[in-house]
Amino acid sequence: MAAALLAAFAEPAAAQALLDWTEAEVRVVGQHGPWPPPPARDPSNRISGALAGIALGEYLFNDARLSGDGLMSCAACHQEGRDWSDGRTRGKGRVDLDRRTPSLWNVGYSRWFGWTGAGDSLWGQSIRPILDPREMAGSRERVSRLLREDKELACGYERAFGTKPDGDDERLLVDAAKALAAFQATLVSPRTRFDDFRDALVAGDREAAARYGLPEQRGLKLFIGEGNCNACHFGPRFTNGEFGDIGIAFFVRPGEVDSGRLGGIATLAASPFNLLGRYNDDPSGTSARRTQHVRRLHSNFGEFRVPGLRQVGRSAAYMHNGSFATLEDVVRHYSEVSPDRLHSDGTPLVRPLGLSIQQSTDLVAFLRSLDAAPPPRPAPPPLCP
């Protein structure tokens, strides 16, 4: 089977349009798919995947009344027309923020949330900006009152959860966040030119594979080969879901650092909304396994979540603090990163790649092949027709 596959790709007829791909390379490329994956389901959220919950979540996502001043919804920063981010270098809530607003594409498949993994569930993470005085500055009382007093939302709540909104404010805040999570988990990025190539390569369809441009193919070879980018940007979403220090400056302003994952783990442990708490709907305990075992390491200082790369060309700026404006800047960083800034006792995972102009161009071409224009979204259904 493998020999036949290699023989097929060794045929000279279309050699100008298809690079030689070894059996090992085909296997590694195959690990970046298939796409899309099955719909995300979160056992810690009892309305995950439920249509009524998704509908309620979409209404809440766009409802500015969740915020303290009634002026800022989730959609103010996570804008559909900006690939569920805001197009800004760094986020802006009631004040300017220190980190970039992450895109919500494929967020339902994540295991850690926020740049530092301070959230261990999408619903837990969705509570943070609502309550954060720098962002929406809302409160549990405000959210719960909205669910009780707005007739349409109250009806949507009852349909989603099977009971009327009661007097437990914290419970209602969590339920609102679970509806928000159910909606966000439906935001799955579309198939891309890379996916067509990946599927053709794995299937041995030489003609279809050859439709993928040579710069993209060269960039992909670099990505999974010399660049070793897939050590962290692994799998169908191009992330292993964990954290890394890639040599970005720690300081957010003179004398103040962003400790990254180190602080994220501490915040997670202190949160009443983590998966070890009373609001986890998963009786098996399986969903809490990472939280239960996560280890706080000195090396967590300055680490940030490895972002997925799907739609990466559509969601500038880059890095947790928006320090790079373009994909070209990102590739230049990996080409020239100072080894003095990176601490590793062994072979460093991030090292200056010393890319040529051609290699840099190819790598960017490959990354852009992970982009695709999403189809228009239908208007949300009425909550209670």
Binding site: R111, E242, R295, G346
Partner: protein
């Protein structure tokens, strides 16, 4: 085949080890040993995926026939000198059986699993190499 024969010879040459249950269900497990210990283990699920939590089931046997204790399990990537981002927990199931939860290999490549066991005062470390693709 030669390894199997060698293992069998060592195994059956010692009465205490002959009682060591190597079958951990769903076929069998891997076996590693030292002068004092024989350890059978297998992952659950059987296939370890990059970034996915898994457990390890252990049977810890001693040459003397006394009860062996699994003290610690950890893993690191020798090339990069980093550990897992998770600290595994050990639950004793009695009779030298243990279940270790909370392991995650977050990158493809070579991982060295370290297994610390004790049957008295001294702790001994045994290792096993995993190559995750």
């Amino acid at each position: 085949m030669r390894l199997l024969a060698a293992l069998s010879a060592i195994f059956f040459a010692n009465a205490a080890w002959a009682d060591c249950p190597l079958d951990l269900g769903r076929g069998s497990g891997l076996v590693i040993f030292s002068d004092h210990y024989m350890i059978a283990f297998r992952p659950d699920p059987l296939r370890i995926e990059v970034g996915e939590p898994f457990a390890l089931l252990f049977n810890v046997c001693t040459k003397s026939g006394s009860a062996g204790e699994l003290v610690a399990v950890d893993a690191q990537m020798p090339e990069h000198k980093h550990t897992m981002n998770y600290h595994p927990s050990i639950v004793s199931k009695g009779d030298g059986r243990f279940r270790v939860e909370g392991l995650v290999f977050h990158m493809a490549g070579h991982w060295e699993l370290s297994i610390d066991v004790r049957a008295g005062e001294e702790i001994e470390r045994l290792t096993h190499d995993y190559y995750i693709k």
